[in-house]
């Protein structure tokens, strides 16, 4: 009886119990072959099956180079430390470049917020920049998703030092959470890539789950993804998503060899906890370290751009992205210079130049530098494009000439062109109303003129 219920359960769990007939089942054998193999076969190096419940006093990390097992008050935690020496090359940069990152107003600009509180808590001035990246058992979120590897990286005089906290077993999660808290202390500033929406909420949930409130939730936080999006979205360096692996290649010139694919990472951890060799985790640890190093290098590079761009706009598409960053931070003059440079750069695409001219025009208008703004709008028109993008310029110029320039004819010319390009009733009516008013003003203006001349 028991064995029959077990076999029924197996049928159901494998999805063969529900309905598909033998003929049907042949057609659609479950697909995810390779990953499945990797995940669910706990074998030792000779390929012999391992008892997954085998106790591993060393946490099973014997095969992991550089790993040590810390026994804490809260349980065991595996720590892997690694140093990238200053003269080590990471793409076009040297590791020592990471040391140039410092907490100043340019970093605030990248963060889009003040990283150093005006009135630091007593004895807790955030001064240490800590790069942070998680590896998790999935992407779904929820109570059943674990962060099995928490990697932190920090610049030290000896070089870029990464410290990775690895979960040797499920029961050891509290130890990892405490260890991470202890590492961060009360003076860390967090730097992540997409940490605001992923890494930090994950740690928050794990902390709530284990009742170990997480320091990462409360420290100042620079999420480089948002800065990177502003900087590189419009340029060739960043595709639209601005993935870290993509930027490290295009911006930093890093090429990873044999990097573990993201989809494999959970499977490797599951194989390890099922009794597999810790060696399967080595590529994951390497992947995580490289992510940390790239994050630091990218931050250094971005901060350098911000510093240099303050005085001289860079060439190329970066100028536009940089302008957007300056604008968000309220650095008006550098923003204007950057936009201007980008709009004038004949090597760039028309779309980018027009976007830059438009940003420039809007910024100048907000600064009440109307004449210059009108010039920029004029430039938008010259660059041409779809009616939607030009309509805004037509409207702005019509307003400018009507109310500030007093050139009613010129205003009418733009309003007419705008009305022709308008899409939808609302827009068309706006222009028509403007035109009617302009006609009225013009009609009033013309007969009056001769009188004055007389």
């Amino acid at each position: 009886m028991a064995s029959s219920s077990l076999s029924r359960l197996r049928d159901i769990a494998r999805g063969t119990g529900a309905s598909p007939s033998p003929t049907d089942a042949r057609v659609e054998t479950p697909a995810p072959g390779g990953v499945r193999e990797l995940t669910y076969a706990p074998v030792d190096e000779e390929g012999l099956p391992l008892d997954p419940r085998l106790a591993r006093p060393d946490g099973g990390i014997g095969d992991l180079p550089g790993a040590r097992l810390d026994t804490t008050a809260h349980g065991p935690c595996v720590v892997v430390e690694h140093l990238y020496e200053p003269d080590h090359h990471h793409g076009r940069l040297r590791v020592e470049a990471c040391g140039t990152v410092c907490l100043d107003d340019t970093l605030d600009l990248l963060a889009g917020r003040e990283l150093r509180p005006r009135q630091p808590r007593l004895g807790a001035a955030p001064t240490r920049l800590v790069y942070f990246d998680l590896e998790t058992t999935g992407l779904s979120g929820g109570a059943g998703m674990l962060a099995f590897l928490a990697g932190v990286g920090e610049w030290t005089p000896a070089g870029f030092r990464t410290t990775q906290f690895l979960l040797p077993s499920f029961a050891a999660e509290r130890a990892l959470l405490h260890a991470l808290n202890a590492y961060l202390g009360d003076d860390a500033v967090l730097v992540t890539y997409n940490g605001r929406t992923f890494d930090v909420p994950v740690m928050e949930l794990r902390g709530e789950m284990q009742r170990v409130p997480q320091v990462v939730c409360d420290v100042p936080h620079l999420d480089m993804l948002h800065a990177a999006r502003r900087l590189w979205r419009m340029s060739e360096e960043g595709d639209r998503s601005c993935k870290l692996t993509h930027l490290e290649e295009s911006v930093l010139g890093v090429g990873r060899v044999g990097d573990v694919g993201g989809f494999e990472i959970p499977a490797r951890f599951f194989q390890f906890v099922r009794g597999g060799s810790a060696a399967v985790l080595e590529p994951v640890l390497m992947h995580n370290r490289l992510d940390l190093l790239s994050l630091a290098a990218l931050t250094a590079h971005a901060q350098q751009l911000v510093r240099d761009g303050r005085d001289t706009p860079p060439s190329g598409a970066t100028a536009f992205g940089l302008g957007a960053l300056y604008e968000r931070g309220g650095w008006i003059d550098p923003a204007i210079a950057c936009f201007r440079a980008a709009a004038a750069d004949h090597w760039q695409t028309r779309d980018l130049r027009r976007a830059a001219a438009r940003s420039l025009a809007r910024l100048l208008r907000r600064q009440r530098r109307f004449a210059e703004a009108a010039e920029a709008w004029q430039q938008v028109l010259q660059l041409g494009g779809r009616p939607q993008v030009l309509r805004e310029a037509r409207e702005a110029l019509a307003i400018h000439h009507e109310h500030r320039g007093g050139q009613l004819e010129e205003a009418r010319r733009h309003a007419e062109a705008g009305a022709a390009q308008a899409i939808g009733r609302g827009e068309r009516e706006d222009f028509t109303r403007r035109l009617t008013r302009l006609e009225r003003k013009l009609a009033r203006a013309t007969p009056v003129a001769p009188l004055w001349n007389d």
Partner: protein, 838 residues
């Protein structure tokens, strides 16, 4: 002043009486209508094939009040008094007393009896006393939660103001914006949600809800009766998970459930929650007198058993009331029927000149704003008639109307009373009229008013131990919290250890350090729908313009509903399947206009795997032996034995073709052959054995015997559906004529030669079963008796879709042979009368 009101209501009563008198074309019945002075609880049964088949008079009942229970907060009592509620009804007081004392309670409440106070009273009292206390309300649909929100928020605001603090009341469902969710988690004292959201959106993220779970004092389950069959089986497991999480956070909430009238509210509540319940069944709410009329459209073709369209008949009935200025609600069975009836009534009744729309339609799919407008129009009286699907059956507030007309039997007794309750003020007369369609159940009900009026309503049946369902929820539970070694999932008799072991083999969990951890990348709740057994779905792609997904169907029913040339119906729109991609789990459909739907012909073979119980109904005294010699005669098996059983079966089915059936008339207008792969299913079944001896005894040819068994099975399925409170597609039927071949939806190919016993299987049409078989086994006698009544009382000559099945399918002598067989089986089975199934 009061005199005017009395006269007005008197006029209304008179108008109602008047309209009722005009319901039958032959005015004779008008005279037989019992007046207000008629004996209470009686009904006049009009025998034969009359249009009005019965009128039941339900007397008025005065309100029974009770003092406020001592534990109800004074500030709440004050606020309620200010709102005109000076004293609770007896059932409200009783329910609050139980709940405040921490006893789980289920309240059976007729429509409009003030069920919300039963739980709001207890919850708000507790929240006032303990500011941190939390409550979770579960409604079967989002719309119901929204409807409750306004009322509860209003009350909470008044009470909160008196207590000088804020009582947070929020809905939490799929529509809640992401930024509002954090605030709700932190501030809500009362969260209104639904089981699907709890399953996929709350429980898997329980650490975020720690405040709620730590302080959870009450779980309110409204409309408990909605949780039967698949949905109920899932909910029982969701509640196991919920209670597991509560234990983790150290809370032990009290359940407060409300249910419409069903036969087993307490048992259902106890099965769903695995907790002992107190039952409050006596309503203290006042009730006006009511007339309940059963109406059967006249027959227009005696031979084919075709009646006048029930929609036209419903229109006629509705107009009788509308013309006399009575406000009414008309329930239709489908969205399409709703739209048709709305059009009919709008055409026929414009209302007073200058008035706004006097007739409105109402169904799912209307925008919320429009729905609110119609609901308000009903309460204020501008809308004189609303035609609705079951969307208005549950607790949405539309005030009390004068008349309810049901176009078609709603499918269950409980739901019929629930809908009838939509008409009826607390004083004055009201009426409910049921217009039968030609479906077998409808016909049975109108021809057996006694059964309808006097039988207890249905049992709501669930099977939380369905292995498919159980396995799914153990996955979710393991995701939420690791299972400890030796931990049992709820009180399931299925070994949790074994389930986890199998999940471990499949890589979902891993045992180490005394616990089972989730070791999979997936988010299991996403793949599990509470409304279906398996997550293996076919999507339906409309290729009329471009391609877009318009629906899903579970694997089990896909082949029989989505085969090529099948008509797929969605919200009244018709689509024809052009291609079925079995591997890709897709059906490509194109919009068509036609006047038929399709019904698959499926050959089914049932193998019995394990008999759980068998009862030989044949044991009795052999009368001839006893008569002369000894009075203490021994028990000797009677010669013609009928046996009934239930147990596990293996069902192999193959869709071999389909029929085209015309709408309304149910004529067979064509057919086609299909070649599709076999499907297999392990499920539970009830089966009746027609012994070889009985088959041989019936004086008909083998082909006719087979037809008789098929016809009997057709009728048995209808009656089983009636007894089980289930949907037609919840039950499968298979006939085995003794030669190994079997079929559904058509005749088995083999004649019943009488060489072996024949069997009729009624199986749960879901992998693993949803708990129908054992109850059906216990209702065996009622099943046979009522099947016989259904066939006997059908006015058709040789069989029709309302009894043994459409004549073209079933053969010319099916009706007579079926009756003959039933008579012999019943004589053999010996015992009489209805058995209580539990």
């Amino acid at each position: 002043m009061s005199g005017t009101v009395a006269r007005l209501s008197g006029n209304k009563d008179q108008a109602l009486q008047d309209a009722l008198g005009h319901l039958a074309p032959d005015s004779r019945t008008a005279a037989t209508l019992p007046g207000g002075d008629g004996a209470p609880g009686t009904h006049v049964e009009v025998s034969g094939d009359k249009v009005v088949t019965a009128v039941r008079h339900i007397p008025a009942q005065a309100a029974r009040h009770a003092p406020w229970p001592a534990d109800v907060e004074a500030r709440l009592v004050e606020a309620l008094t200010a709102r005109g509620i000076e004293q609770p009804y007896s059932h409200q007081a009783e329910a609050m007393t139980h709940a405040l004392a921490g006893r789980h309670v289920v309240v059976v409440t007729p429509t409009a009896s003030g069920k919300t106070l039963c739980y709001n009273g207890a919850v708000l009292s507790t929240v006032l006393r303990e500011p941190g206390a939390r409550a979770l309300y579960l409604f079967p649909t989002k719309a119901l939660a929204q409807d409750q929100l306004a009322e509860l928020q209003g009350l909470a605001q008044i009470v909160g103001a008196a207590a000088q603090r804020e009582i947070g009341v929020f809905t939490y469902d799929g529509d809640t914006p992401a930024d509002a969710r954090r605030a709700i988690r932190a501030r809500a004292n009362v969260v209104l949600s639904n089981p699907d959201m709890l399953h996929a959106g709350v429980l898997p993220h329980h650490p975020r809800w720690a405040r709620l779970f730590e302080n959870l004092r009450y779980i309110v389950i409204d409309e408990l009766h909605a949780y039967r069959g698949v949905f109920g089986s899932h909910l029982a497991n969701v509640l196991r998970r919920l209670q597991r999480i509560c234990r983790h956070y150290g809370s032990d909430p009290t359940f407060i459930c409300t249910s419409a009238t069903i036969a087993n509210p307490q048992a259902l509540a106890e099965q769903l929650t695995e907790q002992p319940f107190s039952l409050v069944a006596e309503s203290g709410a006042p009730r006006g007198e009511k007339f309940f009329v059963l109406l059967n459209p006249p027959v227009v073709n005696q031979a084919l058993g075709i009646r006048r369209s029930y929609l036209s008949e419903a229109r006629r009935v509705a107009l009788e009331f509308l013309r006399r200025n009575l406000q009414l609600i008309v329930f239709a069975q489908s969205r399409l029927a709703t739209e048709i009836l709305t059009t009919y009534l709008k055409d026929a009744f414009q209302g007073p000149p200058g008035a706004t729309d006097a007739v409105r339609g109402y169904r799912g799919g209307y925008l919320p704003l429009r729905r609110r407008e119609i609901e308000r129009g009903l309460r204020e009286g501008d809308v004189r008639a609303v035609v609705s699907t079951n969307a208005l059956e549950l607790g949405i507030d539309i005030g009390a109307l004068d008349v309810c007309v049901m176009a078609g039997y709603p499918g269950t007794i409980a739901s019929t009373w629930q809908r009838a309750g939509r008409a009826g003020r607390r004083s004055g007369r009201s009426a409910a009229v049921l217009v039968a369609s030609s479906a077998p159940l409808d016909q049975f009900i109108v021809r057996h008013p006694t059964y309808f009026f006097d039988a207890s309503p249905e049992h709501a049946l669930i099977n939380p131990e369905n292995l498919h369902v159980l396995l799914s929820h153990v996955k979710c539970a393991a995701f939420e919290l690791p299972f400890q070694d030796g931990e049992r999932f709820g009180r399931t008799p299925v070994s949790t250890e074994e389930v986890l072991q199998v999940l471990g083999e499949e890589g979902f969990v891993h045992a180490a350090d005394g616990q089972w951890n989730w070791t999979h990348e997936s988010y299991p709740a996403d793949a599990i729908s509470l409304r279906a057994i398996t997550s293996d779905n076919f999507v339906i792609v409309d290729t009329t313009e471009g391609s877009r997904v318009i629906g899903e169907t579970d694997y089990t029913s896909a082949l029989s509903t989505l085969h090529e040339k099948a008509i797929y119906i969605l919200e009244g729109a018709l689509f024809q399947v052009e291609r079925l991609d079995i591997e890709g789990r897709k059906a490509y459909v194109r919009s068509v206009e036609c006047d038929y739907y399709t019904d698959a012909i499926t050959y089914t073979k049932v193998n019995v795997l394990e008999e759980a119980e068998t009862s030989l109904g044949e044991v009795g005294l052999r009368a001839t032996d006893v008569g002369d010699s000894s009075v203490d005669g021994t028990l000797v098996p009677l010669p013609n034995r009928s046996a009934r059983s239930h147990g596990d079966v293996h069902v192999v089915s193959r869709v071999v073709g389909f029929k085209k059936i015309r709408f309304y008339t149910n004529e067979n207008v064509g057919s086609g052959d299909l070649d599709l792969p076999e499907q297999q299913m392990h499920t539970t079944s009830y089966w009746l054995t027609v012994p070889r001896a009985v088959l041989l005894e019936v004086p008909w040819a083998p082909d006719d015997r087979r037809d008789g068994v098929s016809g009997m099975a057709h009728a048995m399925r209808s009656i089983a559906q009636l007894l089980l409170m289930c949907d037609r597609r919840d039950l499968g039927v298979s006939i085995d004529t003794g030669t190994g071949e079997a079929a559904v939806g058509g005749r088995p190919p083999a004649p019943a030669t009488g060489d072996a016993d024949a069997h009729v299987f009624l199986y749960d049409n879901y992998p693993g079963g949803i708990g129908f078989s054992a109850p059906l086994f216990r209702m065996h006698d009622a099943l046979l008796t009522q099947t016989r009544q259904l066939i006997e009382s059908c006015p058709c000559e040789v069989g029709c879709p309302s009894c043994v099945g459409p004549m073209g399918d079933i053969g010319p002598r099916a009706k007579r042979v079926a009756l003959d067989l039933l008579a012999r089986l019943q004589a053999a089975s010996g015992s009489t009368g209805d058995e209580v199934p539990f």
